[in-house]
Symmetry: C2
Subunit: 595 residues, 2 copies
């Protein structure tokens, strides 16, 4: 059973992501170490005691489409209400609407724990919070006052309606249309697919944010507007009125996250209401919907990264526990009677330590990204704000992609450690493998993230943000070299080598972009993203290992860091080679893809 790694989470937030220093400097409001620890402890308890026991039924029973509505798994609606009543939804929301305005980094750390127990459950709240952010940033005061207090408290949930059959990554091809009405409202007509928690029984009302196109809108992605479309109309006194003209047509039969309803939503076909057309209210300006959507999507990308971290932690714990108990064979050097626990076999031990290093590295990079968002939001000095915004921009695609790719890899390792039992559904290892597979896909595939990293994030400030970050990483390697802590082995040299690979690849890509070689740059984008991820794993684990945690040294953290440095990150050399020297071979091989 999942044990929330509260101490590790708190350590990583404070000492690796940077919250410790920021709290000392008073940059995070009233947040103190004690309060941080207390919140994490309580979140850990809620995750372990409330969510974890309902995860399996969510997977087995799944969400069901019944009588035009969606019935969530037994116990989930009550679970959601307890979760919202605990204040977890409001944690990082604006105080103005009832939120606690605690840091994003703390909020993301709680989501790691919800996700570790059940991706399917935590996904609805994640999207609601995205909707709150979009409304808070772009909606009129009237809309905010009407909807945000109940969305922040969790009394109502939100949903995001972007995707259509021909329009996923590229939203320019969208067909859902909006018509202006004289009263200032709009009527929405169209079909949306893959709408997570588009319909459910958690809350009485659901506030849909819907992208649609006005009749006179410019073509492509510059002609998209964002609308708030409630399931039930809200009266002046806040009570619910009649049903709006939208409904869930069907739900998908998916590989994983069975408890999360993935809905096809129909807007404006006349099923509800006196005339056809779902009534919507404009959010932000006409034809500027995509910008509003991106506000929300950026944080959701990090939220998906947290899903990777959560599943990685849970899968690692489960596999480690099994490997301690399962007896099979005799490991070399085993002195005990009879068979040894499989954890004694070097191959199994290597797998488990790899899982652990990748999990902790993934955790560190997601928290560092969240902390950068906090600083960008809270600091007032424009230069500092810009620095942290660039850091958040850069880290977002990395923190979305690396932990989710690692999550798939780790969940697969988790099955492997269980042997044949891992393939049996009742064991539970297979659920992680199924659930986590969506995470490299949604909120922008990891390939899309890589394109964003190379095409938009690397060139920030002419490449100087990346150069500055690389200098910080070199400083970590220097600290390892200069430390008198035993146990680091060849860590400093290995970090140096990976950082040099990162630097060389960055400069090569910047030069390619400057020369207009878009195809060449794009060809190495995924490798570059992984090169960043691996280098950060090494550097952040080293940063943790360098911390004096009271007794001067932490042998476990140093050992994990050394393992990553000497066993995992040297892959960066081949990634760099692929980026710089692999382009022509890829171009030539594309002949094979012609039909």
């Amino acid at each position: 059973m999942y044990k929330a790694p509260v101490e590790e989470i708190a350590f990583t937030l404070k000492h690796v992501a940077g919250l410790g220093e920021a709290m000392e400097q008073g940059l995070l409001g009233d947040l103190s170490e004690d309060l941080l620890d207390a919140i994490l402890t309580e979140a850990g308890r809620f995750a372990e005691e409330e969510i974890a026991p309902l995860a399996d039924i969510g997977d087995k029973q799944g969400a069901r489409h019944v009588d035009g509505g969606v019935k969530t798994p037994d116990g989930w609606a009550e679970l959601y209400r307890r979760w919202a009543e605990g204040g977890w939804n409001a944690l990082a929301c604006p105080e103005e609407f009832g939120g606690q305005h605690l840091p994003q980094s703390l909020h993301m750390a709680t989501f790691e724990m919800w996700n570790a127990c059940s991706l399917g459950f935590a996904l609805g709240p994640m999207l609601t919070i995205g909707a709150i952010e979009a409304l808070n940033a772009h909606a009129s005061d009237a809309l905010k006052e009407k909807y945000l207090p109940k969305m922040v408290s969790g009394e109502w949930m939100g949903s995001m309606n972007l995707t259509e059959p021909g329009s996923g990554t590229d939203l320019g091809g969208m067909k859902t249309r909006a018509e202006r009405r004289p009263d200032g409202t709009y009527r929405i007509f169209g079909q949306k697919i893959f709408i997570t928690y588009g319909e459910h029984d958690f809350t009485d009302n659901i506030i849909h944010l819907v992208l649609a196109r006005l009749p006179d809108a410019p073509k492509g992605s510059k002609g998209i507007s964002l609308f708030l479309v409630p399931k039930f109309f809200v009266n002046e006194d806040g009570s619910l009125g009649s049903r709006n003209d939208l409904h869930c047509h069907s739900i998908e039969h998916k590989l994983g996250i069975h408890g999360s309803p993935t809905c096809t939503m129909i807007f404006g076909d006349g099923k509800f209401g006196s005339e056809a057309g779902a009534v919507g209210w404009l959010v932000g300006e006409e034809n500027h919907g995509l910008a509003a959507m991106f506000t929300m999507m950026n944080n959701e990308r990090l939220g998906v990264g947290m899903q990777g971290v959560g599943v990685s932690e849970a899968a690692t714990q489960k596999a480690t526990a099994y490997a301690r108990e399962r007896l099979q064979g005799r490991a070399p050097g085993w002195k005990g009677e009879g068979m040894s626990p499989i954890i004694e076999h070097p191959d199994v031990a290597r797998t488990l330590v790899t899982m652990r290093a990748l999990t902790q590295g993934s955790r560190a990079m997601t928290y560092a990204c969240a902390f950068a968002i906090d600083m960008a939001m809270r600091l007032e000095d424009p230069e500092a704000k810009r620095h942290w915004q660039e850091r958040a921009n850069l880290l977002t695609p990395i923190a979305k992609s690396f932990p989710t790719d690692a999550g798939v890899e780790i969940a697969s390792h988790g099955i492997q450690v269980h042997g044949g039992m891992g393939f049996v559904e009742e064991t539970g290892a297979a659920r992680y493998y199924r659930d986590v597979r969506i995470t490299p896909i949604y909120e922008g595939t990891n390939g899309v993230q890589a394109g964003d990293l190379v095409g938009r994030k690397l060139p920030q400030s002419g490449g100087n943000h990346v150069r500055g970050f690389i200098a910080e990483l070199k400083e970590i390697a220097e600290q390892v070299r200069g430390s008198n802590l035993g146990g680091f082995g060849n860590t400093a040299d290995k970090l140096d080598a990976s950082i040099a690979d990162l630097e060389e690849a960055s400069e090569w890509l910047l030069a390619a972009l400057a020369a207009g070689k878009a195809t060449e740059a794009a060809s190495g984008a995924t490798a570059y993203q992984r090169l960043w991820g691996l280098t950060l794993v090494g550097c952040y684990l080293a940063k943790g290992g360098l911390v004096d945690a009271g007794d001067g040294r932490q042998p476990g953290r140093i050992a994990l860091c050394r393992f990553a440095a000497e066993n995992l990150i040297s892959e960066t050399a081949s990634l760099k080679d692929r980026i710089i020297n692999g382009v022509d071979a890829l171009a030539a091989a594309r002949m094979l893809l012609a039909s």
Copy 2:
């Protein structure tokens, strides 16, 4: 829909694995190029037209445990009979019992195609053929005459009963017991788990091979005997008699291969028969059962490798077809109107070419292994026989593990290329990801394979077999360097580098083994196995690219080889580094695994 790659399969058999030359030299009996092509073509047709259409129902409906028996998916029993009537079961079986005695390599190539359509379907036949091999090698003439003709024709199927709850990889802990009876038969009592096709409705009788322990047997794996235990007794005239005392207690609910029943079998609890005890006949000698089981298991390991190849091919085809049709975004350099097919995006193209290179490399190494088995079986010169037996021994763990690990990776890529649709079960990409996940586990986990490779196969002839093989690989790299075929780019240098990594790692491991450093050697075993796999991918693709296929050059094969050389195989450097320099870090990190 799956299109059997008959031409590619035939090319790989003839020009890469070595069948072309062997046929010319008359080493493969009557087999000619024409016959080979005709058999492959007919197998491709059967796979595409007969198996493929029944794959989805097998996944959705699954095998069901009904009234103590197992009902296979609708249409599968009839499909099996058509398959057996087509002579596919008998292809490589001994002529003495009705088989065609065609090469193992051809037999494995047909299994690639069955597997590509449905792992769950093809698994039963694969195990039956393993049972035939074990009986043919070890059973008495009386048993062979009674059972083999109907097993070879496919009228009866076989099953393998090894695993028990506490005894999987390590069979020494087995508890199923056998008692001698005065009439020379035995009575078997016990429970076996994970028994593939232990019960089904394909055939009237099922011939179980069961491992059990005699009362006076030595402890551990030297006290295990093998028994033939039929579901129904067979009368002297070959007709079926009464039911033997064994039955299927339940079947597993699995991540994948849903159509294949995975049974818990109970022997001798008195449910059938006048007295308790399943009647069994000894196969081979008492207490020598494990050797008999290994006869069969070696070929099954290669058979599992073929499962990896089959799924890889199918997943690659599916993703490539989707990427050609799906329009999204505008790829750099795209000149067309509107959105481009996603195959035009460099990142997607890279993924698809990677899938293709790994698939073809996996195919080549499995066929090469099968060809080595053929040569070891058919050549009479003792020195040649030994050479090929060592080659088969060496290649078996590699050909089991690399294609199955690659299969998991490729199936995961296949989902990714489909984006959100990949996560929807109806699309079919998810089935490959679920089905193939068992392949790195069963018939000896890939970790067990790696231990076998390092501990037993590498040291064959004091390491000289591996040294000789490495010399052959260097020769391929030299041929690339000396060829006047354009398009190879830096292939020769890249091959040289990977082969040098392989050589250095091999010598380091041989020295470690010689020094009794078993833990150190085992620590790098999985990395060493992958190092072999990647090097073979590069070398075998190059061997294919060097072939003069009539018109002098094959740009596609050369381009694929160059892609693998310049984009995939340079990972060998980090694998070598991990093997040689990663051991101490792993040893130190094991402190983290203490509970």
